[in-house]
Subunit: 500 residues, 2 copies
């Protein structure tokens, strides 16, 4: 906004002249006092992404971080960063800047936030290291709004370096250092892209389901009894009693189905007290949960869930290409492939494929993680898809509330869904008959008293229904081809990490 | 789908003839075996809401609950309910139904789910007690899909009766009975409307913020240290240590601001271990949280938050009129009023209004609940709005991280927002300077070691920012003019209630 800045310049002139002897630019730089909402200046801050040749020769105000600074004789080059965008800025001794001002600019700690007034100038040679390649900012004023400490716990440039370059001897940042200093690690272009895409997954999930007539529900996380028999559950002190953290919203989703909401979804934290220190387990993660009454066959639900995931994949590939490319720069990866309709295999078919590949497995045995991954590769080779459904799991490996297959008592009406060979969803037709549910709970040795409220939910008429829970962090990780779920959880929780 | 049912009929004929002696309709009714996804019949189920004169004389299949049944000589009238819609059905002795079949229909327990094949018939006199007033269903087949137990813990008709009729001696249902049997209570038209509208609030909140360029984030609920000094926090056993449940996502939202996300929001559970047994406190509720970096003045954020709420109110009044009317039938209430732009009063102005109304209060005293409500009435009288902002709270009554007012050390850059005289949002400009934050934490007697990760977040450059947290259940309650937050929490948690 040239007019406002011009008027400000003219106000300052008398002083400038007065102090010229010692530093004629004295008023043009410095550390601002803390912004406490003292005033409402009539000043527009231009986005770094808007600094293009269209603004050539305009005087603009910009707020950004000092990404790097490099002094060189009578001038100082700064790279100013704003989210994933950056621009070069030049402070050079001349009419607007004194040598003291150049020195001040050169000494600003990296990551400090500055307000800069400058003229947008077209450059003759593209600036390859910046996103704004065609312009640079000629600084007229520079004020530090928030000063960073001089020693950064990690360097942003190291944090976005592809792992392959580590082998070439260049610095990268290990995961614990990243997570210990997450506030800085999240500033990298990779992190910004990962979490913008994750926000998109949630948005697409809801958009799709709301269009399909689903209702969003909120389910309690503090529960009075461990839902699935008491293993792997966190205990909470609840006034004078104990309570637990919900391992899934499933029982509540089901109650909503019994309460005639028909199609419900929720997004919320899920807690698992498992002492698993793997690349894909967290003690707290975000569940994208679906539950739906169906007419005659649980495949009606399987199709809705699979289509929801397909809509998410499509939406991400349509709306988040920039983010995908940004992440791929650091973590190269094949584009995610999927079929329409989604491939559905039965468990026994998967067993046959694995056995053919030399794996020995019993009919009622669950898939181990290595076998899951191998199966993913076999399916990719045969069907050219990174996403598929595995249907009809053995009853023995599923929870008590899973509906047995009416045709084969050793099978169940249950399914998992996989992305790049890793499970992202587990689901099933649920038993909606209180008597069968009681029998199955007893068979699993579950204390009926503890699940009384759950079983009672089905006593007053319950439609057949099915559903499933999706792990948000896993979907993000596997869609982007990342290798650790801690990369896709902003503040991950595992048995060894509770901070920040 | 007349064709499919016709073919089914013809298949059944031989048997019908065979059994005619004892019961010629024997195959046309009964209790179906449990739906275990045995088959995928090619049968379309028509929605009750689609049963209109446009379908007159069509043969349709419908799945619904038996809301009531009333036998009368050779016929039985059923009211079939599907969510908020219902239709009358008639089983009459004749070609399709035997007297045994009529008796069977009359004896089906209320709330059971049935599949019915019937002919849609136009009626001469509107059926006032049903939503589908112009047609009834002449039943040809009726099968129980899920049988309800004979004794219901509450009657749905009692559960939707306006409280005023209780005074006339008609039965209503008390809150604990409702909550103990929530699965049934949630089936009422009032509950269905309340929670559909609540789903709409979440949707409008996100829609508005995503349009404003906000990013959705997910923040951890298990934290290593009590965020606000340790009072009112639930303790969790975390492997061999203790952890806590987050009382708000605020510190994490702020870290996202320090990580350059600029504008973030989240929706998630919030936990408060307060032994408060009031109409508006829950130990677990859903927080709609916003945090935003601003340029020069926190009012930039206040305006965005207020506008977001206004967009929610408008969206509800536009898209959820049916739900609002349904709730008003049971709980009559004035339409919610708001101004654009939102009214913003300073705390000292509110004090003056209260003092003028005879209330004695100190300058640095917080508002009590009765004074909040009185103020709401005074504001409504003077400005004709149910929604307003109260700005510039005394510093003494706000948390340590609240930015003091630079002009008046006893005031702060903080605000609450009110609906119908009750607080629904609390927010502030946060201190983004680690040194001032440390001073204020010490002033509040907070153990610095416990908030180290939080304070450290601001050491590497932090923009000025502000935000706030909205209580979802309160917004739903106050928008609809309900009187207890337990009506707007599906499965409420309070010091005395953890089930269902």
């Amino acid at each position: 906004m040239p007019s406002a800045s011009a008027s400000r310049r003219s106000q300052e002139k008398p002083r400038e002249i007065m102090d010229a002897a010692e530093d004629y630019a004295k008023e043009r730089y410095g550390v601002s006092s803390m912004i406490q909402s003292q005033e409402k200046p009539d000043r527009v801050l231009v986005r770094v992404s808007d600094l293009t040749v269209h603004r050539a020769d305009e005087v603009v105000w910009v707020r950004a971080r000092v990404h790097t600074s490099r002094a060189k004789g009578k001038q100082c080059f700064l790279v100013l960063r704003q989210q994933q965008f950056n621009v070069q800025a030049l402070v050079a001794v001349g009419d607007h800047a004194s040598k003291q001002m150049v020195k001040f600019a050169a000494n600003i700690n990296k990551e400090s936030i500055v307000d800069i007034e400058g003229v947008v100038r077209k450059v003759n040679q593209k600036i390859g290291s910046c996103t704004q390649q065609d312009v640079e900012l000629h600084v007229q004023k520079i004020y530090v709004i928030s000063l960073a400490e001089p020693r950064l716990p990690l360097q942003l440039d190291d944090a976005v370096r592809p792992e392959v370059e580590e082998e070439e001897g260049r610095a990268t940042v290990n995961q614990d250092t990243r997570l210990d200093n997450r506030v800085i690690d999240l500033r990298t272009s990779t992190s910004q892209a990962v979490f913008r895409l994750q926000s998109g997954i949630c948005q697409l999930f809801r958009e799709t389901l709301i269009n399909k007539g689903f209702v969003e529900i909120q389910t309690p996380k503090i529960i009075s009894a461990a839902s699935e028999g008491g293993a792997n559950v966190f205990t909470v002190s609840y006034f004078k009693n104990n309570a637990y953290l919900a391992q899934s919203p499933q029982l509540y989703k089901q109650m909503c189905i019994c309460a005639d909401f028909e199609k419900v979804f929720c997004i919320g934290p899920v807690f698992r007290a498992e002492d698993s220190n793997t690349h894909r387990h967290l003690t707290e993660f975000v569940g994208l949960d679906i539950e739906m009454a169906f007419n005659y066959h649980y495949h009606e639900v399987v199709e809705e869930i699979a289509d929801t995931l397909v809509q998410i994949f499509k939406g991400l590939q349509e709306r988040f290409q920039t983010e995908i490319r940004t992440v791929n720069k650091q973590f190269p990866c094949e584009p995610f492939k999927f079929l329409e309709p989604t491939l559905r295999l039965e468990y026994c078919e998967a067993l046959a494929m694995l056995r053919e590949a030399g794996i020995e497995m019993g009919d009622e045995e669950d898939l181990s993680t290595p076998n899951e991954k191998l199966l993913g590769r076999l399916v990719k080779e045969k069907y050219d898809t990174d996403f598929y459904i595995l249907d009809k799991y053995p009853l023995a490996v599923r929870p008590f509330y899973t509906m047995p297959d009416p045709r084969n008592p050793k099978q169940s009406n249950s399914y998992d869904m996989f992305m790049r060979g890793e499970e992202i969803l587990s689901g099933a037709q649920r038993i909606h008959d209180p008597q069968l549910l009681t029998e199955r709970a007893l068979h699993h040795g579950i204390d009926l008293e503890k699940i009384k409220a759950y079983i009672d939910s089905f006593r007053f008429g319950a439609p057949p229904h099915a559903g499933g829970g999706i792990g948000l962090e896993r979907v993000t990780m596997l869609f982007l081809g990342l290798h650790n779920v801690r990369q896709t959880s902003m503040f991950p929780r595992d048995p060894k990490r509770l901070t920040p």
